[in-house]
Amino acid sequence: MHSPVTSEPIFRNAGAPSIVHSYSVRICHWINVIACVYLLVSGVHILLDFPELYWGHTGYRGYPAIFKLSDWGLSWEAAGKLGDRRWGRNYHVTFAWVFLINGFVYVAWNLHTSHFRKRMLPARAELTMAHVWTDLREHLRWRSRRHTSSSSYGALQKMSYLLLIFVFVPFMILTGVAQSPGFTAAIPVLLDMFGGRQSARTLHTVGTVVLALFVVVHLFEIVAAGFFARVRSMVTGKESIAVNTEITR
């Protein structure tokens, strides 16, 4: 018997563990966690060392800025003491490579196994306003997701993951590389794509905030769905859900 909405089977053998996260998904996920933590922290260090944001090609201390951390209570000097740009730059570039290579492996392997199509591509019925609205309302109520399977994603979840992986991550990579004097010499369109390297820097910073928000929501949902069981299933790949005979989405 299949759900008319998601086409996923809705009867499961009670108690028998099923594989919900493949080997590559699990390994790439945890490498990604480490890389993203380092990228975030090192990125903050880099920004603190020069805590002003501009737009266009030009921006330096004294130039009109669209954001100044000193307007928000942290002086330039104090921010500079907090930020270690040498550590920041070394670790940011290093984990950018880890993130990129890991991400490439993850996407290439899982395109090959049709993981994205099976797990993340919303069915037509899930894309209706009514369905999305219902899904959103359920998320906003504290409605326990404990008894849903990790192999069955909701509509909003699917759309967020797809947007994250195929829109937002490329955006972060491009806005990062567009700040490099070497790579912009090789790929000059990067300089025009965002309006200049200061625009890229600003967008990259804004993107960091969006990424942090994603992580917060992600963690919240994992907790709502049963933290230890979900983390365990992302390590072992298996889940045992006692009662799982009807999933209404």
Binding site: R85, T94, P181, F183, A186, P188
Partner: protein, 220 residues
């Protein structure tokens, strides 16, 4: 590849960054050149703006009239060039962005002698040459491989925004290396030596910045 490779993941990333960058730039493409309306004037200054070095102060006081740039090491004719001699070499003017690794950037109109022409004025580098090392009046030193040295935009600039290079921006000469971060664009150039190894220079990593733990190759 960088002349020395750091250990661990960081070193591996350094190699990936430099090799991918150089692969993409194998055509020796130029960094973006802008128009005069993009120029920042007055051009911002950063870090050292007036080296305390006694010799520097003396030369600066007399407008660098008798100042000479020694070009030594693995060149056919080790020489010392005056500023006038350098200015008589075929000059290049480029309106390019100075991109500091800290995050700021500013566009300036630089005029100077391509480093390649300066080396040719000393007879050119010998076949065993691998790096050009530049020393400055404020104690900085940096190494550049020949690929970077030969690039048309690698110039010893003596003019900025149509005027003589101001002291704060590195008079009498500052290096422009347009495809790398600002800290490789040395100010207050004092001397040039061409070497086959950077092993004996500073702490042996190839420059003051890499000796301090920053990337030797600052393309990113």
């Amino acid at each position: 590849m960088p002349p020395t490779v750091r250990g661990g993941l960081i070193g591996m990333a350094d190699v990936l960054t430099m090799s991918s960058n150089r692969l993409l730039l194998s055509g020796q493409q130029l960094a973006r050149e802008f128009s005069l309306s993009d120029v920042a004037d007055p051009f911002p200054t950063w870090n050292q703006t007036n080296p305390k070095n006694v010799e520097y102060q003396r030369h600066a006081a007399e407008g660098f009239r008798t100042w000479q740039l020694p070009v030594n090491g693995l060149v056919a004719r080790p020489s010392a060039l005056t500023l006038d001699q350098i200015k008589s070499l075929a000059a290049r003017t480029q309106i390019t962005a100075h991109v500091c690794e800290q995050g700021w950037s500013a566009i300036g109109e630089w005029t100077g002698a391509p480093l390649q022409r300066v080396l040719e004025a000393a007879g050119g580098v010998t076949p065993t040459a691998r790096y050009v090392v530049i020393d400055t009046y404020d104690g900085w030193y940096e190494g550049y491989d020949l690929f970077e040295v030969e690039h048309p935009q690698t110039i010893l600039a003596y003019r900025l925004n149509g005027r003589d290079l101001p002291r704060g921006n590195g008079a009498p000469l500052r290096l422009r290396v347009e495809r790398q971060c600002g800290y490789k664009n040395l100010k207050f150039v004092k001397s040039i030596r061409v070497v086959d190894s950077i092993a004996g220079i500073g702490k042996g990593t190839g420059g003051i910045n890499s000796d301090s733990g920053f990337h030797w190759f600052a393309g990113v």
